[in-house]
């Protein structure tokens, strides 16, 4: 055992409103299924929270294939929120997740303002989740998703409607595909969001020069992975500075050091997304690395890192 290991373990707990997490490391919606898919590799009860794949009222078929394309230091996806609908989600995924000792954040999608609230109401009837993440930022659907997240009016409206549907913590997931992310963040905060999560993917495209065809069937898709980290850090920093509510930061996090950077920028929680595909144990690696990072630098509480950027 080296000297560092003998120092006291840091307090890894963080809070998102009334939701207490045992550590800041969450999963990014859509990259982790319902959690079950990763359970051969990850003890889910070690995570700060499991954030599920987006769920809508009715089943959604998603987009045509190909749905992904690898790009420089990242990837594009245009899955299109394929999901089996809230009934199947409640009976199969939520029921299973509830057997575990881990906070469950259900990511909620809708084609209309009303649909978001109805999904939450249905889950509340079934006993509820620990928190809801409202997805107003998916770039891969024509109706719903990002349509609600790129202007203050619709973003406020969806948040208000969801707020009326539950007392539980409400996290609104923001799109980076906007002129001013701070103004959207303020709009959802003023409607009662308990936290914001950012960033969702950046709208992009990839082309195969030889075939002169787009690499994605839907032509455009959402860019994720290390390529977007600098943009995500900048947006987290801007939003955290402007808002009084907690921020969940994500975008290209692959290592514990990435997570530290997001927390310094102002994130109270962090989410691992695309990195789960490359190494299914990334979440655990980041939790362990973050703990070690704090211990080695005598950071007593990981929460002390939140917004501790020195400028």
């Amino acid at each position: 055992m080296n000297a560092a290991d003998q120092r006291p373990s840091p307090d890894m707990r963080v809070r998102l409103g009334t939701l207490e997490l045992r550590n800041p490391v969450m999963t990014a919606s859509g990259t982790f299924g319902s959690g079950r898919e990763f359970s051969d590799f990850v003890d889910l009860e070690r995570l700060g929270a499991v954030v599920t794949k987006g769920v809508s009222m009715e089943p959604w078929p998603g987009n045509d294939s190909p749905r992904i394309a690898e790009t420089a230091s990242g990837m594009l996806n245009s899955i299109g929120l394929q999901n089996p609908g809230v009934e199947r989600f409640v009976e199969r995924d939520l029921a299973w997740l509830r057997t575990l000792d881990v906070p469950v954040v259900v990511n909620v999608s809708g084609h209309s303002t009303g649909e978001y609230a109805r999904v939450i109401e249905r889950i509340e009837q079934a006993g509820g989740a620990d928190a809801y993440e409202v997805n107003i930022s998916c770039p891969n659907v024509d109706a719903g998703g990002m349509v609600f997240g790129t202007a203050c009016g619709p973003a406020s409206e969806v948040t208000r409607s969801c707020r009326a549907a539950t007392q539980r913590p409400l996290i609104v997931k923001l799109s980076p595909n906007v002129t001013d992310v701070v103004e959207i963040a303020k709009a959802v905060a003023s409607e009662g969001a308990d936290a914001v999560a950012l960033i969702n993917t950046l709208l992009g495209m990839a082309i195969d020069a030889e075939s002169r065809r787009p690499k994605l069937a839907r032509v455009v898709g959402g860019l994720s992975g290390p390529a977007i980290k600098p943009i995500a850090l900048r947006m987290v920093w801007q939003v955290a500075a402007a808002l009084d509510i907690p921020v969940v930061g994500m975008g290209g996090i692959t290592t514990a050091e990435d997570a530290v950077e997001f927390m310094l920028a102002g994130a109270s929680g962090v989410a691992i997304g695309t990195a789960n595909f490359v190494d299914p144990t990334t979440t655990l690696r980041v939790i362990d690395g973050l703990t070690t990072w704090c211990r080695e630098r005598d950071v007593a509480r990981v929460a002390d890192l939140i917004g501790a950027l020195e400028t």
Partner: protein, 276 residues
């Protein structure tokens, strides 16, 4: 096909294994054979299952690449790959002693219908890869094996020796006629299916070839399984990148396949070949 043949009991859960490269040889123009020392995966992998390889680590972000296991020899797994894009180019540069990590075994492999005693394997190009271990397994189980194999030219007939060793009969087609008959593998496949001798067909290769073989098998009233290739990110059922249209809705190639009962597949009209 019997009901049992449709249901795949869950095989051994996948593991994450660090595997040293034992051999990485060029076996034909643009085709490599990677042999990994992977005792855990080797113990549990079933014919037709695949592994997800992290072909490069550290310097740059790169998704894992899925490859079916061609053969298992002792604690080693053999992977045949074609150099087509960034990931497979990285693979071709791996050297003996390099360590890469492997997730596997993944997916559902081939299933032998209970009463089948004579199987036809149809291999188009690198489609021979997932059929190598299956041919060996069938022969061990006393099932008669016929093979129809096709490739652009004779050097590209990967695993031909393996097929010739275990199969009762191997019929070859090449695009240029440098081995066997000139033409597509569907030629010999059609004759073998129509011979009335084979009771089940297992096919892997270009999707249009698989579709053609599936149609021939269906016309002859013979069950057929195909192994489909899709671009894949997670490989464990979470990301929904690799979906396949079936009569039972969208299925994931990674966990519901890659082997499917061909009669359930809704073939896509315009195939965009994966290049990864």
């Amino acid at each position: 096909m019997t009901g049992e043949a449709h249901t795949h009991p869950r095989s051994h859960p996948p593991v994450l294994e660090s595997t040293p490269v034992v051999v990485n040889d060029r076996v034909a123009e643009g085709i490599g054979l990677l042999v990994l020392d992977a005792p855990l995966v080797a113990t549990h992998v079933q014919p037709g299952q695949f592994v997800h390889l992290r072909v490069a680590e550290g310097t740059d972000f790169i998704l894992r690449r899925p490859f079916s296991v061609h053969r298992v020899v002792g604690g080693r797994i053999e992977i045949l790959y074609q150099v087509l894009g960034r990931g497979t180019r990285q693979m071709s540069e791996l050297e003996q002693g390099d360590v890469i990590d492997v997730v596997g075994p993944l997916g559902n492999g081939w299933t032998l219908p209970d009463d089948a005693s004579h199987a036809l394997l149809v291999a188009g190009g690198l489609g021979a890869a997932p059929l190598g271990m299956w041919a060996e397994r069938l022969a061990e189980r006393g099932v008669a094996v016929s093979v129809a194999q096709g490739a652009p030219y004779s050097e590209r007939l990967v695993a031909r020796e393996l097929f010739e060793r275990v199969a009762r009969r191997v019929e070859i087609a090449t695009d240029d006629g440098s081995a066997g008959e000139r033409g597509f593998v569907t030629g010999p496949a059609e004759r073998l299916i129509r011979s009335g001798e084979v009771e089940v067909v297992f096919a892997c290769g270009p999707e249009r070839m698989q579709q053609a073989v599936a149609n021939l098998a269906a016309a002859a009233g013979i069950p057929c399984q195909v192994s489909l290739e899709r671009l894949m990110a997670c490989g464990i059922g979470a990301c929904l990148s690799c979906v396949v249209s079936t009569t039972e809705g969208l299925k994931r190639a990674c966990v519901d396949g890659p082997v499917f009962d061909a009669s359930t597949i809704k073939w896509e009209s315009s195939e965009v070949p994966p290049k990864h």
